[in-house]
Symmetry: C2
Amino acid sequence: MAPKAPKFEIKTPKGTKDWDGVDMVIREKIFSTITDVFKRHGGTTIDTPVFELKEILAGKYGEDSKLIYDLADQGGELCSLRYDLTVPFARYLAMNKDIASIKRYHIAKVYRRDQPAVSKGRMREFYQCDFDIAGVYDPMIPDAEIIRIINEVFDSLGWKGTYTIKLNTRKILDGIFQVCGVPEPLLRPISSAVDKLDKMPWEDVRKEMVDEKGLDPAIADKIGKWVVLKGQRDLLEKLQADEELSKNESMKQGMADLDTLFTILEYFDALHTVSFDLSLARGLDYYTGVIYEVVTEGSAPAVSASEAAAEAPSKSKKKSAKSSDPDEDRSNDPTLGIGSVAAGGRYDNLVGMFSGKTQVPCVGISFGIDRIFSITKARMAAQKTTEKPRKNDVDVFVMAFGGGKDFTGLLKERSQVCARLWDAGIKAEFLYKVKPKLPAQFKAAEQNGVPFALILGDDELAQGKVRIKEMGLPAEHPLKEGELISLEKLEEEVQQRLVLKKQLDSIVREAAGLRVVHGIKSDDVQVSSTDSPTPLVTEQPTPATSDVQTAERPAEAEAKAAGGSNP
Amino acid sequence: MAPKAPKFEIKTPKGTKDWDGVDMVIREKIFSTITDVFKRHGGTTIDTPVFELKEILAGKYGEDSKLIYDLADQGGELCSLRYDLTVPFARYLAMNKDIASIKRYHIAKVYRRDQPAVSKGRMREFYQCDFDIAGVYDPMIPDAEIIRIINEVFDSLGWKGTYTIKLNTRKILDGIFQVCGVPEPLLRPISSAVDKLDKMPWEDVRKEMVDEKGLDPAIADKIGKWVVLKGQRDLLEKLQADEELSKNESMKQGMADLDTLFTILEYFDALHTVSFDLSLARGLDYYTGVIYEVVTEGSAPAVSASEAAAEAPSKSKKKSAKSSDPDEDRSNDPTLGIGSVAAGGRYDNLVGMFSGKTQVPCVGISFGIDRIFSITKARMAAQKTTEKPRKNDVDVFVMAFGGGKDFTGLLKERSQVCARLWDAGIKAEFLYKVKPKLPAQFKAAEQNGVPFALILGDDELAQGKVRIKEMGLPAEHPLKEGELISLEKLEEEVQQRLVLKKQLDSIVREAAGLRVVHGIKSDDVQVSSTDSPTPLVTEQPTPATSDVQTAERPAEAEAKAAGGSNP
């Protein structure tokens, strides 16, 4: 009885997607690259629930609170899906009063009911990778280490020279606003307006300040003199030289902080990627000190909203934005860039919002993995990388050789050989057929890019031998037909060849300047983490292996080379 | 201005918890152990959203559907949190019609609004680790590989000899019911009753069949003759020998399946852990063939519900169960065991429930990580393991030596040395103080069990040297005061000592038969995955290092040995 097709469309919820295949391999590599950096800096990981009590999230995200997903009221507590990993971390610190200091990292999904743009990595369910340093320390040392971590992460991802860490501090920003005469209640709204300078020209931002927030135009003009400036120490010196600014208490603190920060960043060899940018304000309310945001090619929109409006003057800009379906995917909207790929800052008062008096000052960074992934994919496409990451790591495909009516299929022998390889920690598979044909087995091995075939045949087994054959060797290679090895020493013989092949591949890759994924490191030499230490084989590489990664491998030819022609 | 304490209790939602510290380290080791096995069998991983369209989950879980968490209706689609990883996998296969076969694994959280028992690993948010083989293959080969995978996972976790894979098939169970005369509509209800035989005696199960489900008592008695039986091939032979049973079509298929399965399991050396158990029925509707469930010590309740009722005869069993608060934690309820630690089976029709005609037969296993964790923790407590896993992996703590009024704190030098170590992929940290005291630095290093201190001092730096000191050496050790190494060759010198120490530790551990966590493998020799291959140093171990893992390390003494006495 065939089941009936369901009446609803089979799909994932809007703004979410399944991850699989090569995409998943790339994403996992990004995760492991970032985790390596986090561990190198002494990070320990924690895991908090996907949903929190609704009250925990309330009042933490300002205007964006409307994007929080709530769970249905099914009796019991009211809960919401987490919006970021920072508020749960602060809640965790408030609950664990014995933890006065910690370097914690957390890689997990967060949820925002935002308008999605899936191809740009703007998802409703997306991963954040956070590293935060909590504790009372001397000023700016942890802040500098976070900037250093940002450098290490993007350098490890192969982005050297293609990203900028925009940096500012709330103290300087607030100081400028105060000196310019912004009334206290307008500080955060004006700050939000300034934050849009990466998406729209100053004229539009000024308009928002004056027309929407009701700021005195003269004050707006004073602000405009400062917030468009970018630099490094030069800009800091310009601020320090301004008599009016340098009298302000908040400015003084902010300038002293940046002076210390820049000095330590020089020690860390991590200042060159930083752009001190007075337009950076960050939307969230909880930041109290240094703030930063990492941008790269593609972060900014291709077309600004006002340009788009100018091209379509019949519709007012505001109207067209409001009338669009909030569930609709905006992947093709040129006024939407990928945005920042990492962001963070210092938040010294957030823990106190939960614990009352006990404050734990914190500074941290959050990497937006889905956006980093989107950019990586786009760069791979642009580079037309021929070398594709494999979908699994299988090292050996165990096959039966033979045909005709006496052919048993050797299921018993294939099973036993696989079991021995698995026991030795070697990744192996075989075809789930009782009597498989040789070309079908080669085809299955090729589809996954398995590097070695282990071919069992009645004659060889009778002599206590099996044939091992490296896949994809050229026709003239002396080992094209494989080698007979002792069945007794099976594990050892296979292990040796695997180690040698991985070494050769990595030498060849290095020599060719190739990378599996742009900037993502190739597999290490280890065969499996459960291996006992294997002596490294030191033979010289033979040039013949250099085509292994890219060569076409017709299964029929391989099967023929192995001496097999099934009936 | 100190913030006010909030008026609500700061906690995680009921049935959920934060994971951190040593617990997190143990859980991550369990994950990596399982992932290694999955990869060894050619698994590729996929990731699906935490929530699915509500319709996708509807009608898949029978009575348990009431435990599904729904998202609030905030406009747009209606969604629910996933209840397991199997239904999302089937939905994924239905959406991706080009994938006719796959071995996929998925490690992710699932959600059930069940009554929690946190200390027993019964959570409302918990991890499942699933491995499934999808595709049309010759009978029972993938099913056997799944059983083999179960063996490898629990053996790798160090559980050898302490677990049993209870196995049955729906075909035999239904065959027995049919032959005994159970009417078609009662098949699944009677199956559910039989499934409770691990928690209650046959008499209670019989009562439920007759009194609650309305089964003819004579039929119940016939069933009772069979479902209490356990065995292996002997039991299969007993069934095959029964004339009446072996005429039934479903029985015939089931018996042929088990015959093949047992044969392949023998090939795989994986039959010894299997108990063919006719009482195993599994609750979920979607299984169509082989089913299994892994139990261990602690899986069964300490006291059966009827015993508990006999001890407290004033309350009726049913009433007391109903009256309890469904949100209340039942960790101390003796009638509740940890339950099975892994379970699964064959489900050939689930994909068709989404895709209509296109069927993709599947077989899989789901490991209950939180329960495995609870048992691991309990065993560690019982063994009073003195060796605790470290919370982070830092290898080197970089310190400043000195004091008095001329002491600069060497922040610049510490920062630069750390930056060089990080560049070399070495895990390093330093104290975030401008002028730290030596004992405070040693204390920080000891708290995290960092194996090496790198001590910078003005005099040594002037000679181009730094002192490296292994932590925790006994007073009489020749290297107690550390060694001077060249600052120029810093990375190389440190790397060499790290590799040597890891080798020695692993030899010492092996010699002592110690394990960091019962059954969980110790770290491999690699220093970091970003290292270039480091030659393995082959010196003999010195016995003096054997106390490193357990010795007390008073920071003052260490600081003194290093020649430091801050004012």
